[in-house]
Symmetry: C2
Subunit: 152 residues, 2 copies
DNA sequence: AATTAATCTACTAAATCGATAGATTTAATA
DNA sequence: TATTAAATCTATCGATTTAGTAGATTAATT
């Protein structure tokens, strides 16, 4: 399961992506609009900035904005940054590889192959979905939802 | 990431599946052979029994053995039982469905679709791999590994 | 009756999760 | 240059989960 941190990060980034500009947005604005505890959000935004996804401006008229285009930000990157490996076991993780503590021999482990398949399948999805797509999809869904409610 | 509990459960079940008989195996034997803390293993085996995967016999000549055939035990079932949902968000979980706390409206959530895809992809793998296949694969790998070491 | 083995009850230490408080630094502007 | 606004840094904290342990109890053999 995703942590709250990861979910908050995604929501905050969605909000910034929708703004689609280089004008800094206040932490407090993001916190209020997306109902995220402000102090917790501070930690999250800082991490996103340190990873190069966001940029910040200190002082008056300061705030946060996207460093990368929302088309360059993959969901997998956000999740890995916040929650660590996506893989179910460390020995098949691409970014956080480590041998499994419980495993005698990786080469003869009957599980390895399956775990690698799972990691590949999820990675293929999460690393190919961008923030831009998520935002566009949400906008589309909202639009059609409004249309349907008008009809009834 | 899988918990130690889930990994221990898989190892214990692999061990019992390899025995392939209705003769009860001692907790202490499994613990020793698979290097799992005995008291922790007790908890795990009890859960597996309550789910119907294992059976137990109390008293002299007692122990644990498979209730189901190893061909009927899917990896997904073991993992769900030990660690809960496989899905990344509760709103796409098949067995543990719940609305996402942070989400205003599931129908217009831009993330939902992706998360459902991930859950489907992982589920398709984990729910179709059986204990039997894992054990057989391990045996095959061990066999070929021995062959190769003889050659060199 | 004695022995054996699972089961039940009840803890516990350590790590992680989800936050919060308050002081500090940096930049804009009046 | 003083004021103000904003992010940043330090530091701590309660609750929950994870990983495990101790010891008494119950059930089945022999």
């Amino acid at each position: 399961m995703l942590s709250k941190k990861a979910k908050y990060a995604i929501k905050a980034l969605e909000y910034l992506a929708q703004k689609d500009s280089k004008i800094p947005v206040l932490i407090s604005e993001i916190a209020k609009e997306q109902t995220i505890p402000k102090k917790f959000l501070e930690v999250i935004l800082l991490e996103l900035r340190k990873d190069g996804i966001l940029r910040s401006k200190i002082g008056k008229n300061g705030g946060y904005f996207l460093q990368l285009s929302s088309k360059e930000i993959q969901l997998g990157r956000i999740i890995r940054l916040m929650d660590g490996p996506i893989a179910l076991v460390p020995c098949v993780s691409s970014k956080y590889y480590a041998p499994c503590a419980e495993c005698k021999d990786e080469a003869t482990c009957g599980l390895h192959h399956v775990m690698a398949k799972v990691r590949e399948a999820t990675g293929n999805i999460l690393d190919n979905v961008t923030l831009d797509e998520i935002v566009k999809r949400e906008q589309l869904l909202l639009k059609t939802a409004r249309k349907n409610s008008k009809k009834t």
